[in-house]
């Protein structure tokens, strides 16, 4: 392929027309009454998305939300944009067809830990590997909400639910690790309760050209209340929450007890008291590294037990997107061989009677 796609300079929204009139949060709010349970973390994400979309400056009509099935899948109904509430696990496939044929659209996929990682796991990893220009919001509440409380692929092992009365046996997925393993070009994690961090992460994800996966830790007060409380408690979170920023040393902790992430002799990352290590030993976060091992190692820190847990953008690298390349192939083919249907139907071997 010879067409120059202009990487890595191209923005995730290049091709999507810039809006004429200025829009507000209200413009992105549909007339549908929001029907999540009171206190559901989904409200916070909805508010953040509605609040930040106007700043992208693209028209409502060029924005599409596609969802599968689950509590989070109601999301498109609440957005006054184009939207589709599809079937369980399949939103990435629909978004792939849409994004591939319509470069002028800003396509979002809203999914959950059941929808995106269980029934739709295959589609998610393949969308990420292809690097289709879509933004995937993965609402992770570590439980099945809509079907009333069965364990999910991100639930703690041993979790007692209606379908696992003596505890679940499954080893949970780490969605960030999974996405990195699937060659995702943009992977981030954020929290429903941290509006500023959530918005900042969404902004970066939307600007990224290619598949972006944003895992959002989301509280389900009905079936898995407090799953992420340790990351919200003012004191606890100081000890546990590591917000990484590209180019910054990975440090955290209260002022009187700072920690840093250092590389062990065996190459693994671990948390150390800053007081006990040399400052030069602290790992500096590099989200733009081609090699995924650094981002992967960060994703493994603490893991399921959130002790600690890393949020922020793990990886943001530029590589050609599937849809841009598909369109480039079409353009090139049309230039090289202008379409002539009569000629195609006639072919090279004919006879006349």
């Amino acid at each position: 392929m010879t067409t120059d796609l202009g990487f890595p300079a191209v923005d995730g929204l290049a091709g999507v027309p810039a809006g004429g009139q200025e829009l507000s949060t209200k413009d992105f709010t549909s007339d549908q009454e929001v029907r999540w349970c009171p206190g559901c973390g989904d409200y916070a994400v909805l508010a953040a998305v509605r609040g930040f979309l106007p700043e992208l400056g693209i028209p409502r009509e060029n924005t599409v939300f596609v969802s599968g099935i689950g509590c989070s899948a109601r999301f498109p109904y609440y957005m006054n944009t184009y939207g589709m509430h599809s079937i369980h696990g399949r939103a990435p496939t629909i978004a792939t067809g849409l994004a591939t044929t319509r470069p002028d659209l800003n396509v979002w996929v809203v999914t959950g830990d059941g929808d995106g990682l269980s029934i739709g796991g295959n589609h998610l990893i393949h969308a990420l590997r292809r690097n289709v220009n879509i933004t995937v919001l993965l609402f992770n509440n570590r439980i099945y909400g809509l079907t009333k409380g069965q364990y999910s692929p991100t639930s703690d092992q041993g979790m007692v639910t209606k379908s696992t009365p003596v505890g679940s046996l499954d080893t949970p997925f780490n969605p960030v690790s999974l996405a990195l393993g699937a060659e995702a070009s943009f992977v981030a994690r954020t929290l429903d309760s941290d509006r500023a961090h959530l918005t900042e992460t969404l902004r970066a994800a939307a600007a990224h050209r290619g598949s972006s996966l944003v895992e959002i830790y989301q509280n389900c007060p009905i079936f898995n209340d407090g799953a992420f409380d340790v990351l919200k408690d003012a004191e606890e979170k100081q000890r546990r929450l590591i917000q990484v920023n590209h180019g910054q040393p990975v440090t955290f902790g209260p002022e009187d007890e700072r920690y840093g992430v250092v590389r062990d002799d065996n190459g693994e990352l671990r948390v150390a008291k800053l007081a006990e290590v040399d400052e030069s030993e602290v790992v500096v976060h590099d989200a733009h590294r081609e090699d995924t091992s650094h981002a992967f190692a960060l994703s493994r820190l603490g893991g399921q037990h959130l002790d600690p847990t890393v949020t922020g953008i793990f990886r943001a690298v530029s590589r050609p997107t599937y849809d841009d390349q598909v369109r480039a192939q079409l353009t090139e083919a049309a230039e090289q061989k202008p379409a002539d249907l009569q000629k195609l139907l006639t072919g090279n071997n004919t006879w006349t009677i």
Binding site: E61, L98, H126, L330, A334, L345
Partner: protein, 629 residues
């Protein structure tokens, strides 16, 4: 008009006889290049102006053990000086490249058939592999046939020696020797084949040369060898005037899909996952990117149809291609398309089932799956091509229905149609149907709110408006949940659901399809034979034979399975007996009985092979003469 035996001489010259029709079967190991050989002979026959029909038959394994019965691959070709309908029942000529090929195909030959064998492969070891104690060439069991033993491998090696190829490479040209010999036997033109070989192996001139030499050696062998004293001539057929080419069903289907995009002025998006025997449609479509055709090889069947539906939502002509097992996986997404009321083409190239079944064999057993294989009341339109070339027209019809009525359409081809080929009268692009659609551009709410309501319908077609993303002011949400008509908002109201279920059904029931035509030359037939899909050829050929024997029979064929033509009930009730041959256990017959309360009788076969005209002739003539079925 119909010759019952192609070799029956009608006019005798010294060495060249005339025949009306001939059925040739090339059979060999799956590595022997029999499909290519058959294809080339087909092209020669086509270029000569014969009517023809073909039936490739190959193992599911890519390379089954060499020389064994499961490894036999064959290609049957029927060509004639009149319009024929089937690839032929029984070969007049069998070319057997090894003992396995002979053994596997012997049972299909009628007495007096010609058998050409490659004696070099009739070694003790090869004979043993297929259970021959003594060579059938010597045991006398081939007495009923005219046998031509030819040392094809050695003759080929000798002929191509000058190219300097290794012995192994040289031997691989033996299929072209066989082609050359048969081309001589049937007085075929040869220039195209030589040109074809030079083009095919353009990057390996040595190989190209060797193949041409082997081909010529085969021809010359026929010309000079005593044992081939006679050659045959099959004159060109007098088909309707026009320019023809040869197409396979899958090729014609792909061309139909490309043409549907062209005539609707919509980009075509094909989402597909490789599956036999549908993959060739994906391969063909992938070559036509210059027509704005996007092909997406998905991670699975579900993703293939999902992406196609996503593309349809965005204003493309979304298409997915598959075979039975894949259709099962796509069911839920097709149901979503029913609920979304978006155009979607689903092409199922049926194969033997259930489960993995017979991947390379043909069957028509997905009819009920296509009609009913989804949860809930989920009506879709269903169409089926009746021959390879008809795949082109049926694809355009499927697109017309999908675009006009905003509905998924299932197109049921099958393995025999997909891989079979026939001459195709090339259509004039300007005469193809106009499939252009109008997207919604204005708000349409009936309450004056200035909103866009996605489920506002055309009162005639009941099609909803198609507003594609990017259209200002028409932002809307659609989904799989039940909705109220018009506004499209979610509704769990019992009466609304009842009304919506009936509305979706009414829309499909109202799809306009042409009346079914009845072929009853005398107008006095009391027995009607009704088929659908690829059985058209054998049923038609059987009807001709029945009529030639002085009996009367009417034939009708369904290309539209849902909805069925509105005159069908009347047609069925117009006959004393209705016979429905199907390559399943009676799916259409069951539908006809329940829908029209007629005593339609099934004649069924699920052997993985098309019906033979001969067997249907017997069944139908028995029925005409009063036998029960």
């Amino acid at each position: 008009m119909v010759a019952t035996n192609g070799h029956r001489p009608e006019e005798r010259t010294e060495t060249r006889r005339k025949a009306n029709r001939v059925v040739i079967r090339f059979a060999g190991d799956s590595g022997d290049g029999m499909q290519l050989t058959g294809d080339r002979f087909t092209s020669e026959a086509a270029a000569f102006g014969n009517d023809l029909a073909t039936l490739p038959n190959y193992p599911a394994e890519i390379r089954a053990p060499a020389g064994t019965l499961p490894g036999v691959s064959s290609f049957q070709l029927h060509f004639a000086d009149y319009d024929i309908l089937t690839p032929g029942d029984r070969p007049d000529v069998l070319v057997a490249m090894n003992p396995a090929a002979l053994k596997a195909n012997l049972g299909d030959l009628s007495d007096g058939a010609t058998v050409v064998v490659n004696t070099d492969e009739f070694t003790k070891r090869n004979l043993k592999k297929v259970g021959y104690e003594t060579s059938p060439l010597e045991s006398g069991e081939l007495e009923r046939f005219t046998v031509h033993p030819v040392a094809m491998s050695e003759l080929t090696k000798g002929a191509v020696a000058e190219t300097g190829l290794t012995r192994k490479e040289a031997e691989r040209c033996k299929n072209m020797f066989a082609l050359g010999l048969l081309s001589w036997m049937y007085s075929r033109p040869t220039e195209d084949t030589e040109r074809f070989l030079r083009e095919k192996f353009a990057s390996k001139p040595q190989v190209a040369e060797a193949n041409v030499l082997a081909f010529r050696a085969g021809w010359n062998y026929g010309e000079t060898t005593e044992s081939f004293a006679v050659s045959y001539e099959v004159a060109p057929a007098s088909l309707p005037r026009g320019t023809y080419r040869q197409v396979t069903g899958n090729q014609a289907l792909a061309y139909g899909l490309v043409s549907a995009g062209w005539r609707s002025e919509l980009p075509v998006f094909l989402g597909s996952y490789p599956i036999t025997p549908a993959s060739d449609v994906l391969h063909e479509m992938a070559r036509h990117k210059n027509f704005g055709v996007t092909t997406f090889q998905a991670e699975d069947e579900i993703a293939g149809v999902g992406a196609a539906l996503g593309a349809s939502f965005g204003g493309s002509l979304g298409v997915t291609t598959t075979s039975g097992p894949g259709l099962a996986l796509k069911s839920e997404t097709i149901g979503l398309a029913v609920a979304l009321e978006l155009p979607l083409l689903v092409c199922d190239i049926q194969r033997g089932g259930p489960s993995t079944g017979l991947p390379t064999k043909t069957e028509q057993a997905d009819l009920l799956q296509a009609l009913y294989g989804r949860n809930g009341e989920s009506p879709v339109a269903v169409v089926a091509p009746r021959s390879p070339a008809d795949c082109f027209d049926i694809a355009l019809e499927a697109a017309r229905i999908a675009l006009t009525y905003r509905t998924p359409v299932l197109l049921l081809s099958d393995g025999a149609t997909a891989n079979g080929s026939e001459p195709w009268l090339i259509p004039d692009v300007e005469q193809l149907p106009d499939l252009r659609v109008t997207f919604a551009t204005e708000p349409n709410a009936s309450d004056g709110s200035g909103e866009f309501w996605p489920y506002v319908r055309d009162p005639e077609t009941l099609a909803r408006q198609w507003a594609i993303p990017g259209t200002p002011g028409l932002e809307h949400r659609v989904g799989g949940l039940e909705k109220v008509d018009g506004k499209g908002s979610i509704s769990y109201d019992p009466d609304n659901h009842d009304a919506m279920v009936r509305l979706r059904q009414r829309k499909i029931d109202g799809v306009e399809v042409p009346d079914v035509e009845v072929d009853d030359p005398s107008g006095r037939a009391r027995v009607l034979v009704l088929g659908w899909g690829s059985s058209y050829g054998p049923i038609g050929a059987a009807c001709r034979r029945v009529r030639q024997r002085g009996m009367e029979i009417a034939q009708a064929h369904l290309r539209y399975l849902n909805p069925m033509p509105s005159n069908l009930g009347e047609v069925l009730r117009g006959y004393d007996r209705v016979i429905v041959p199907e390559m399943n256990t009676g799916q259409l017959a069951m539908l006809l009985r329940s829908r029209y309360l007629v005593d339609a009788r099934s004649y069924t076969k699920v052997a993985g092979l098309p019906f033979q005209a001969e067997e249907l002739e017997k069944v139908l003539s028995d029925v005409v003469q009063g036998s029960e079925l």
